[in-house]
Amino acid sequence: MSGLEHRYGRLLRAYPKSYRHERGAEILGTLLEGSPPGRRHPGIRDVFDIGLRGGQMRMALGAEHLVRRVRGDLGATVAAIASATVVVSFFLPWYVAPFDASGHTGAVRVSALNAGGGRFFVLALAAAIAVTGFLGPRVRALAVSFALVLLYATWICQANSPAITTAGSYDGGLIEGVGAHLGVASAYVALVGSALHMARPGVARVTSASES
């Protein structure tokens, strides 16, 4: 390989790898064929031209990836974050808060969920985002179906809530208070995320196999 060929090869790295793989040899051939004998370095105009075209192509490719993420992967990610938030914010306080709630006597009884719900929600959201970042696409896709189950479970909880609340005259349901409402909101966000995920092209491929 001549010095010039080597330098042209390096210049072609301005193009995205996939394009280089497909067209690199051909473009290199064209560049070499067009070089006057004795030339040792790529001309400044070729450097500028290929740099520009390669840059344009990379930007177009980047935009394409972004759109794909927004239409597909992001939907699953949103769904996963929201589902995980729902799980943690609904079920964690359930185990922790009854001790709190049992301390409350009087007219207003606080349901297990409502006690500390707001704080738990923030914690849960943070944890969910952190965890989701490490999840693979398959797990995120699973979270989509899980989000649907959660939404159903939310309704069930709502219907049965008087039985779950601690004793008293207060008839408030499980879906009460800021934390709990945020939890329900999360369930709906999960649903929207699922819809986004389902609406994207090639969803069957991604849910059954890992994404490329």
Binding site: A25, E26, I27, L28, G29, T30, D46, D49, I50
Partner: protein
């Protein structure tokens, strides 16, 4: 036709009229057609060929290796020929009209 055809694109299409050519062949033919005024850079040539291929005006027409270098040939598709024909006639009509007016005004020797 809504398609806008800029000069380099027009020259590339014209270079492929009636004959398949490889990358450097197109560059040489464009230079000849433009009386040496337009020398396409490789990056611009391939960006143009990619776009024309995408629009279905140009298609690959075989490969060969010469002196250890890969040559990929290109040809006009039926749609490419039609587009080039339309654009050529449009340009010719404009040129003819411009010349006629110049003659009327006595501005042309």
């Amino acid at each position: 036709m809504a398609l806008e055809i800029r000069e380099p694109t027009f020259l590339v299409l014209a270079a492929l009229a009636g004959e398949r050519r490889h990358g450097y062949g197109v560059i040489q033919e464009v230079e000849r057609l433009s009386n040496g005024e337009t020398r396409l850079r490789a990056g611009t040539l391939y960006a143009t060929l990619d776009r024309l291929g995408h629009e279905g005006l140009v298609a690959p027409a075989g490969e060969e290796v010469v002196d250890g270098r890969l040559r990929r040939y290109y040809r006009l598709t039926a749609q490419g020929s039609a587009t080039l024909g339309t654009e050529s006639r449009r340009r010719m009509a404009v040129s003819k009209e411009a010349l006629r007016r110049l003659r009327l005004a006595g501005g042309l020797a």
